[in-house]
C-alpha cells in the first residue's frame, strides 16, 4: 500500500516537474509555479498517513499550498548531498532529534526563531511551552515516540514475554526476532536486558567494556534476528508471523491493533523514548512556503491532532490536554502514548548528544559486528 502510494506521488512529481519545466519556458514565471507546493519528507507508512491527515491536508485547505509527501528511512546523508551539490528538492524533513541537532550545527537546516513559533492557547510562548530539551534551533512541530517491542498473540500458546530480558531469552521464547538495522536503540536494549538500569545505560556504553558487554549480549540472539529498516516493516513481519516478536515504533503497532485488528501486544518494559521535529532544508527554493508549513505544524492543536491518528504525543506541555480519542474508532488515546504513566516503568531516554558524538563509530562497529 505504502509503496504504491510513494510511487504514485513520485510519478505525480515527475509530471508536475515536467509541467513546471514547460511553464518556465513558455511564460518564464517559475516563482509563481514553484511556491504552490512544498515537498515534505517523512517516514512513510501509517505515521506519514497520520501527518498527512492531521497536518498536511488542513495546511493545504488553509493556505492553498499543495504538499507533496515523500518518504525516507532517516539519516542526514540525502540532505547533505542536496545542500552540498546545491540541488535542494526536499523542503521540509521530519528528523530524529540527534540528526536534527547535527544538521542544524552543520548549517544543513534553516534556523527558526523560536519566538516566531505560535504560542499556546493561554498565551504561553512556545519557548516555555516545549518540554525541556525537545526544541532545536532549526525545528518546528514535534512528537514523542517510542521504540518498544511487540509480539503477535497468536505466536504464543502459553507464557508470553513481559520484559526486555524476555526479548533476549531465546531459550524461554524460541523463535526469530525483528530488530532495526542500526546501532541506535539495540545497544541500549541489550544493556538493559543484561541488567543495567536505564539511567546508567549511556554511562556504561561510554566504556570499552560496557560496549563489548552490549555487543556480547546482542551476540546471544544474533542468529535469531531478522533486520528491518523501514518503520512499516515490523507490523508486517508480525502479521505474517515471520518473527515472533520485533522492536517497532509504538505508533505503528497501535495502528495495526486498532485499524487492522491485529492481535498484537506491546511490551513497554525497556522502551526507548525519543522525539522528532520538522526542519527546513537550507537553501530550499521554496523557503517561504516551507516556513509557512513549519509554523502551521508547530501550532499546538495541529501537533496534538497527529495523536488522533497514531499514538504519538506532542512535545509541548499544552498539547497533552488536547489528546482525545482516535478519529475513526473512538479509542481513548492517552493510555497508548509512550509517556502515559503506566507505560513509563523502565524507560531509557535516547541521549542524542551521546549519539552525535559516538554515532559514527558505533555504526561502523555495528556494521562490522553484523557482517561477522
Amino acid at each position: 500500500m505504502n509503496a504504491h502510494h510513494t510511487s504514485r506521488i513520485k510519478l505525480q512529481g515527475v509530471v508536475h516537474a515536467f509541467i513546471v519545466a514547460l511553464a518556465t519556458h513558455a511564460v518564464a514565471a517559475p516563482e509563481a509555479v514553484a511556491s504552490d507546493s512544498v515537498t515534505v519528507v517523512s517516514w512513510g507508512g501509517s505515521y506519514a498517513e497520520a501527518c498527512k491527515k492531521a497536518v498536511m491536508d488542513p495546511f493545504t485547505i488553509e493556505t492553498d499550498i499543495e504538499v507533496r509527501l515523500e518518504s525516507y528511512n532517516g539519516g542526514l546523508a540525502q540532505i547533505r548531498a542536496q545542500v552540498e551539490t546545491g540541488s535542494v528538492h526536499w523542503d521540509v524533513v521530519d528528523l530524529e532529534f540527534a540528526d536534527l541537532v547535527r544538521g542544524c550545527d552543520e548549517g544543513l537546516l534553516e534556523l527558526v526563531d523560536i519566538d516566531e513559533l505560535p504560542p499556546a492557547a493561554d498565551g504561553t510562548p512556545a519557548r516555555d511551552d516545549y518540554y525541556e530539551g525537545t526544541y532545536s534551533e532549526c525545528g518546528g512541530g514535534g512528537i514523542f515516540y517510542s521504540t518498544v517491542y511487540a509480539y503477535n498473540n497468536e505466536s504464543f500458546a502459553g507464557e508470553r514475554p513481559t520484559t526486555i530480558e524476555d526479548f533476549f531469552d531465546v531459550e524461554k521464547f524460541p523463535g526469530r526476532r525483528g530488530m532495526r538495522r542500526t546501532a541506535v536503540g539495540n545497544l541500549e536494549f541489550a544493556l538493559m536486558a543484561d541488567g543495567v538500569p536505564p539511567e546508567e545505560v549511556y554511562e556504561i556504553l561510554d566504556t570499552p567494556e560496557g560496549l563489548s558487554r552490549a555487543f556480547n549480549k546482542l551476540d546471544t540472539i544474533k542468529e535469531h534476528i531478522v533486520w528491518w529498516e523501514a518503520g512499516a516493516q515490523p507490523p508486517q513481519m508480525l502479521a505474517d508471523q515471520e518473527v515472533i516478536m520485533s522492536t517497532a515504533y509504538n505508533g505503528r503497532i497501535f495502528n495495526a491493533q486498532v485499524l487492522e485488528q491485529q492481535p498484537f501486544t506491546i511490551v513497554w518494559d525497556g522502551q526507548m523514548l525519543d522525539y522528532s521535529q520538522f526542519a527546513i532544508v537550507a537553501g530550499t527554493p521554496n523557503l517561504e512556503a516551507a516556513k509557512r508549513f513549519l509554523l502551521f505544524a508547530s501550532r499546538v492543536e495541529n501537533m496534538a491532532a497527529i495523536g488522533r491518528y497514531i499514538a504519538y504525543s506532542p512535545t509541548r506541555r499544552s498539547g497533552i490536554d488536547l489528546i482525545s480519542t482516535h478519529h475513526e474508532t473512538g479509542v481513548e488515546m492517552r493510555p497508548h502514548m509512550p509517556s502515559a504513566p503506566e507505560n513509563m516503568g523502565r524507560v531509557v531516554r535516547n541521549d542524542w548528544e551521546w549519539w552525535s558524538d559516538n554515532g559514527e563509530e558505533m555504526n561502523e562497529r555495528f556494521s562490522v559486528w553484523l557482517s561477522r
Binding site: G107, D357, E361, S371
Partner: protein, 398 residues
Amino acid sequence: MALSLAAARFRAAALTLPLVAFIGVTFLAPLGTMLVRSVHEPLVADSLPDTLALLDEWDGTSIPGEKVFRALGLEFQELHKQRALGGVATRVNRLETGMRSAVIRTARKLRDVNPDSWKEAVIAADPVWGEAKAWRALQQSGERYTARHFLHALDLGQDSVGKVVLQPPDRRIYLPLLGRTLAVSIVITMLCLILGYPVAYLIANSSTSKANLLLLLILVPFWTSLLVRTTSWIVLLQNQGVINDLLVAVGVTTDETRFPMIYNMTGTLVAMTQILLPFMVLPLYAVMRTISPSQMRAAAALGATFRQAFVRVYWPQSVPGVAAGSLLVFILSIGYYITPALVGGRTGQLISNLIAYHMQQSLNWGLAAALGAVLLGCVALLYCLFNRLVGIERMRFT
C-alpha cells in the same frame, strides 16, 4: 620526405586526441581527485588558521597559554555565527571521541562573550580543554595532508607514543573485509573458469549455426540489465522462491528447513558468477576459435589419448584466453558493488559496499577514497604478479 612522414605521424596521433581527452576527463581526473582526497583534508586547517598557527609552538603535553585560548575562542565564535562549526567538530571527533559535542558546546557557551581570561572561559565551557588530548586532537585534525585515512583503511592506529600499530582483533574492520573480498573474487574466478571453459570449447568446436545459437545464449544474458538479472536470482533463490518451492514439492526438504540461499554469501557467489560468466566465456572462445581442430586430430593420429592431447596441445594454446578471462572476471568482481548489496544480506557484503557506505551514509569521503586507493593498489599489485607469471603480451581478449 621526412617532413611528410612527420606530418602523417602527427595526423595519426591527432586522431587519438579525442580518446585521450575523454580518458583524461572521465577516468584520470576522477581517479586523481580520489587519490588526492584520501590524503588531503583542509577543512579544519582553513577554519582555524590562527589557533593552529599558535599551536605550532606548543610542546604537546602542557596546557596551552592564554593566547591560544583566545584565538580558539574567537574563531569558534566566528564559525558558530556562520554555522560552519559542525564539519570541524565532526573531524576533530574522529580523532578523539566526545570532541564533537565538546566543540559545539564550547562555541554555544562562548557566544557573545568577551572575557578577560579566555582560558578560564573556554575551560569553564567544557573542561576537556584543560586536557592535552583535546589539543592534540585539534592539532592533528588541522594537518592539511594526512595519512590518517590510510591508517584507518588498513586497520592501523597510533598508540599513546605515536607509534603505528595494528588494531586489536575485535576492532579490525577493513583488513578482514579486504581478505574476504579477495577470497570471494578468487572463488568466483575459479567458478567462472570451471563453468566457462567447457562451454567455450563446445562453441569453438561446433558447426557455425550451432555455435551462433550457443553464442546467442551467452550474449542475451550479457545484454540484459544487471539489475534484472540480480532480482531474478532473488525470485529464484529466496526462501519462498522457485527453487525452494520445487525442493519442498519433490520432498528433498520440508517447509521448516528451506535452504537459505540468498541474502548471504551463497547468494553473492551464485549471482556474481552468473553475471560475470560471459566475461570468461567470450575471451576463451575468441582464443579457442583460432586453435585448429586438426591439431587435436593429429595428436590422436600420433597415438596420444584425448587427455594427453588436451594437456600438451590444446590447453597451452588456450592459456592466453584463460588469462584474459580470469583477469577480467577477477578485476570486475573485486570492485563489484550492486549485486552484493542486493543479495549479499548480512554476510555477503564486500569492501565496495563499505566504500559506498562511507560515500553515502557516514559521508567520510576521505576514508572512502583511501579504501578505494587500497583496492586500486591491490588490483595493480595482482596485475603485476599476473604479468610476471603469464605475461600480459600473451593475453588475448579477442
